[in-house]
Amino acid sequence: MVLEASIKSTDLSIGYEYDYGILWVVNSVNIVVWRNTTYCIIGESGCGKSTLGNALAGLLPTYAYTNGYLEIEGRTVVRGDETNYNGVRGRIVTRIPQDPSSALNPYATIGEQLVKVIEHHYGVRENALEKARELLKLVKLPLEVIDYYPHELSGGMKQRAAIALALAPMPKVIVADEPTSNLDAYLRGVVASLLKRVQRELNLTLVFITHDIALTSVICDYIAVMYAGTIVEEGVSSKVLHNPLHPYTQLLFKAIPKLGYRETLSTIPGSPPSPTSYPEGCRFRPRCPVGFSECYKAPKLIEVKPQHKVSCWRYA
């Protein structure tokens, strides 16, 4: 299998307009996502992963500022502060929302919403309806859902409907922004499995953004760990999960309670910095148990092992 880049970012930074200037929440991100793979971005809240996801899906709010380059399927969508997603949104990239109950149009039935999207992209109505049924079948929703309003569906069904909607324009890339965070443990597994299956069946590129580290092991091919607006570690999922290199990643993995284990969890001291006060140099430095003087300079993301990059002076 030849790996072709589906998404490529070069020094991508994203900031928001605030009262006193621009607050950069994503800093100099360089990533490459290969076609037909699942790429996970994990991190805690406020680390900028959702902003990055929005940039990929073309949903940055209007008060956002950008810098650097972002290419999706060969189209440059971000160049400096200019963004142009025309023809990319929908046709090439769609996203699966975090909260399907607010992301589905409450005033239209699921069928109407699907048909509207299909019609816009591919025309005629009968085919559109047929296509909508296929999509529902694909996400394992009963066909009568086509006449339901979103509020008549349960949480899990809504998320499936949202997935169907995201698949409707037949995109090449899907950005899933914490699609499981509002679901309970059982449904979380269900939705993740569904996404994985769909990605394989339809040959999609899936960008999966989550804070649920456990989930990544099931569905991801590549993992990027974000901390305070930067990517601190990136690589093939098995390597990152089983042999994390960055101290933050290591500590984070140890902090997850595992079924049946009752030993005291290890914790990361302190709390993540806010974008208004990122520390100098390595942004994990104030919380890092193994930091040293070098850490006052900003580290670079470098490949220390095959297909495994980390941004830490300890591996430089």
Partner: protein, 290 residues
């Protein structure tokens, strides 16, 4: 606390706020002047015949003179202080009544909620003119009577607003818990509900001040119940009385209206700017992004 910060922000960033503030200060000064006139120049200053009747606006008589030869500008200024006092009464009283009735309505579920919200609806439906007439009959004619009548109808807007706001927060955990601990209703309403619902209502009230001025003027214009006498320099009455001269001496009805517009506009601009500051989605840069 945040309202001051908001105001400062609004002042720094919004031309509308600055314009509104300038207008309001000008109106306030005019009102103070109008209030002081009788003290300085004698009680009959507003009624004194100073010149020929129907003088058009000039430097000597900025707004001209009326049908008896009284200086319109003096009278309009005196009207300003009246309008300011009336508006303050209406806004402050309605705000307090509305806020507390709304909070109580939302807090006590069940019968009290139903009864009070029906009463609020009832007062919303009663035209303020009708209440003004009732009050005039009950308490006699006068500026205060009409202000109170307007309070009697106006509070219901805030009552409903406060009720909707309070209903949105009454099932939040901190209120449910406070109730659960057995804290008295008065405490919960005063310490939890009212502080949490009041700021949007305050802003609304500030914006509404303009509507109050207009409503007062409309009532007085239409039925002239506002004062004990046509002699009183009331804006609405001056307009209502001056209407008959509109074709020949246009300044008599039209110039006092200018002050109504200014006062309404001043409050509205300030209220609106603060509202926009409070709602960041309205103030941030927005371009057509899709």
């Amino acid at each position: 606390m945040d309202s001051l910060a908001l105001s400062i922000n609004a002042w720094r960033k919004r031309v509308t706020f600055r314009i509104g503030l300038v207008i309001t200060i000008a109106i306030l000064l005019a009102g103070v002047a109008g209030g002081l006139f009788p003290l300085i120049y004698g009680w009959d200053i507003g009624f004194r015949i100073v010149s020929e009747s129907f003088q058009p606006p000039s430097l000597k008589h900025l707004f001209g003179t009326d049908d008896l030869g009284r200086d319109m500008f003096t009278r309009v200024l005196m009207g300003t202080s009246r309008a300011l006092v009336q508006t303050t009464i209406v806004i402050v009283l309605s705000l307090f009544i509305g806020l507390f009735v709304g909070a109580i309505t939302a807090y006590y579920k069940g019968f009290i909620e139903k009864a009070l919200s029906y009463i609020t609806e009832l007062f919303l439906a009663i035209p303020s003119i009708l209440l003004a007439l009732v009050f005039v009959i009950l308490f006699g004619r006068g500026a205060l009577t009409v202000s109170l009548a307007l309070v009697a109808s106006w509070w219901s807007w805030y009552g409903r607003f406060a009720y909707l706001q309070a209903r949105a927060i009454r099932d939040l955990d901190f209120i449910v818990l406070a109730k659960h601990y057995g804290l008295p209703g008065v405490y919960i309403i005063l310490r939890h509900i009212v502080p949490n619902i009041m700021s949007p209502i305050f802003i609304q009230a500030l914006t509404d001040a303009g509507s109050v001025v207009i409503e007062l003027a409309t009532i007085n214009f239409l039925v002239g119940v506002g004062t004990t006498s046509i002699e009183e320099p009331d804006w609405g009455l001056m307009l209502g009385y001056g209407v008959r001269y509109v074709f020949n001496y246009w300044w008599i009805p039209l110039l006092p209206g200018l002050f109504i517009v200014l006062m309404a506009l001043g409050f509205a601009l300030i209220g609106d700017s603060i509202y926009e500051e409070m709602h960041p989605q309205l103030k941030r840069r927005w371009r057509l992004w899709f």
